[in-house]
């Protein structure tokens, strides 16, 4: 029996949608494509390539189908259970009152067949990917019903049940098409480029065929060889810039088309986005404990930033859940700040002026930047001495020159504040992050100091939390200020370990 709307919550075991039988083989064969192409090319030398790759594809398809037959789902009033595995049967059980976030994704194939993939996030046990419930292949309606059930009707929240009738909520924010102009500055195209490069590299590795000596690649290589070296370098750099700009823009549109943040009656945030693959992430208000403004250097130069949610149950940057924390794609800073404050009930902590850190912190960051650059320069020098091009010296010199403003900027980024029940901390230059974290979400503290930090009288204070990156640091703070800050964020936690006022230190 497959899942039908309304039948989900009858406490019996259900299969996922049988339409997944069409999707699994396509996805798995696609994933195995580099290997299959490799087998084809390698096998061609003996004249049997086609057979071998067909056999391989059949095996992959059969294994992928077994996933549907071996997966069962059960939703009871208190639990969600997923049972799967062909050789090793596993049953994953999650208590419904532990569910923090629900993420609904529909890839292209899913959308063509009216299906969705649902990932249920629970804060505590899913850090290692264990106990994570992934329901790949519910119908769109079933996924929507399940999401609403899990988030709004969880036993803890029964009183806040949203009324099913009435107009839908107005969006807090929607994609403004003018923001797409920031896309080239995200450099996300670099990743795309690396993926494409990796794909060809794998095919080449598994087939043993040198692609650079074939077809269009060869033509391009020959054309570059005929050019003057400087011209060739400029052409390659220009082509790379155009490639990255175009793929970054395409990536932005694919990921953030129809971007929209809704706030439901119970306070649950719902972020939907995507052109071909659509994705909807729901975050319960009580699980949203902070926001982060993330400004990559290039984005900063054009006055743009992105906003991320910090919530328990939303992990940062892991596999298919990557990007679930996005609250705003790269957009003007003012808009990013507006949304960051809005979701936290308009707290002033998002825009408050931060307390700068001591001059010693500045000294440390400048020294570190220059020292790292000197190491890189030394490496370049060795490479040059070993007979490589003098360009390495130019690169090393450029790094050294750039290190001074980088170190100064890293120092200028440093800052912290405690406002309105939120701990605010900012650091970083290549990517500057300003984190606003609710004091209630802070569990404990890590106070770290290297030998050099101790000489300068600095510590790095990390507030540990169950949300987002699991810990947020105030870098290079004076120990006195750090202790005062920690004391204010978690009153009473540190007081038993404070020295008595009339200091009797030896």
């Amino acid at each position: 029996m497959s899942v039908v709307v309304g039948e989900l919550e009858d406490a019996s075991w259900h299969r996922l949608s049988p339409r997944m039988l069409l999707i699994h083989p396509v996805i798995e064969i696609g994933r195995a494509l580099p290997a299959l192409v490799g087998v084809f090319l390698a096998g061609n030398a003996q004249g049997h390539g086609a057979y071998w790759s067909l056999i391989g594809a059949a095996v992959v398809a059969a294994l992928s189908l077994s996933r549907w037959f071996t997966t069962r789902l059960r939703v009871t009033p208190v639990q969600v259970q997923l049972r799967h595995g062909l050789l090793r049967r596993r049953t994953i059980t999650t208590a419904r009152d532990r569910i923090r976030t629900v993420d609904v994704t529909s890839h292209l194939l899913h959308r063509m067949l009216g299906l969705s993939r649902v990932v249920v996030g629970t804060g505590t046990n899913d850090r290692k990917g264990e106990g994570r419930i992934v329901l790949d292949g519910l119908t769109v309606q079933a996924a929507g019903v399940l999401r609403d059930e899990l988030l709004q009707h969880s036993p803890v929240d029964v009183t806040k049940r949203a009324s099913p009738t009435g107009p839908g909520p107005a969006p807090l924010v929607e994609l403004d098409r003018r923001w797409i102009r920031y896309a080239p500055f995200t450099l996300s195209g670099v990743v795309t480029g690396l993926v494409i490069y990796g794909f060809f590299w794998r095919i080449q590795g598994e087939s043993g065929v040198d692609l650079t000596r074939r077809g269009p690649f060869r033509a391009v290589a020959d054309a570059l060889n005929r050019m003057h070296t400087t011209a060739a370098v400029l052409v390659v750099i220009g082509a790379l810039i155009v490639f990255v700009a175009v793929t970054s823009t395409v990536g932005y549109i694919l990921a953030f088309w129809n971007f929209r943040v809704l706030r439901h009656a119970g306070g649950t945030l719902q972020v939907t986005r995507g052109l071909i693959t659509t994705r909807a992430t729901s975050i319960e208000r009580r699980r949203l404990v902070g926001t982060q403004l993330s400004e990559a250097l290039l984005l900063r130069t054009v006055g743009a930033a992105r906003t991320l949610a910090i919530a328990t149950g939303l992990r940062v940057g892991r596999g298919s859940e990557r990007g679930g924390e996005v609250l705003l794609p790269p957009a003007p800073v003012a808009e990013a700040e507006r949304i960051a404050a809005l979701v936290l009930d308009g707290t002033p902590a998002v825009t408050v002026t931060l307390r700068a850190h001591s001059a010693n912190a500045g000294r440390r960051h400048l020294t570190r930047a220059i020292a790292s650059a000197l190491i890189i320069l030394a490496g370049c020098l060795l490479i040059w001495l070993a007979g490589a091009s003098a360009w390495f010296l130019v690169i090393g010199g450029a790094v050294l020159v750039a290190s001074v403003p980088l170190g100064l900027d890293r120092y200028r980024s440093l800052g912290h504040a405690l406002v309105d029940g939120y701990l605010v901390t900012r650091f970083g230059s290549l990517v500057r992050r300003r984190t606003v974290l609710s004091c209630a979400a802070v569990i404990g503290w890590n106070m770290k100091s290297t030998f050099f930090q101790r000489r300068l009288g600095l510590i790095t204070l990390t507030a540990t939390t169950a949300a987002g990156r699991q810990g947020y640091s105030v870098w290079d703070i004076d120990p006195h200020d750090g202790l005062a800050l920690a004391d204010a964020v978690t009153p009473g936690l540190l007081s038993p370990f404070r020295r008595e006022p009339p200091a009797t230190s030896p």
Binding site: G444, S449, T464, A466, P479, L483, F497
Partner: protein, 163 residues
Amino acid sequence: MIDLELREPAHLVSRKARVYWTVRALPGWLLIGAGEVFGLWGGDAPVGVVAGVAGPTAVIALAHLIVMPQWRYRVHRWEITDGAVYTQAGWFTQERRIAPISRVQTVDTQRGPFEQVFGLSNVTVTTASARGPIKIHALDVAVADHTVGWLTDRAQLSGGDGT
């Protein structure tokens, strides 16, 4: 730690810890030394080169084996009160960790092969944060077991899921 406003945790770790840390660091250095000597000698390098590489390595290894355990022993401290778990660890890089008992999720002990020889045990206290586990290294087994029992009782008293 330079921070005199926050005192150190009350208890030192086991006296046996210094010897244990020395013994545990030894195999790594022996491996490096053996690799250097056999690699270079086997590669027909002149004796001078072998001595030039292995000599400084031996000096660094000796310094590490003598300085690190003493330094570490002066840094490593721990304390558990009714309200919090508080530790200090490290040597070159030092770290203090503090977490409230009310947010403790699991308490467990680990004993590696060397630790079993020395009768030592590590206690790990985890909270809901992956960045927050608190490790108390190199305790005497009896102390560790007593600590775990005490903490487990306390952690059960506090309800909620700790996030």
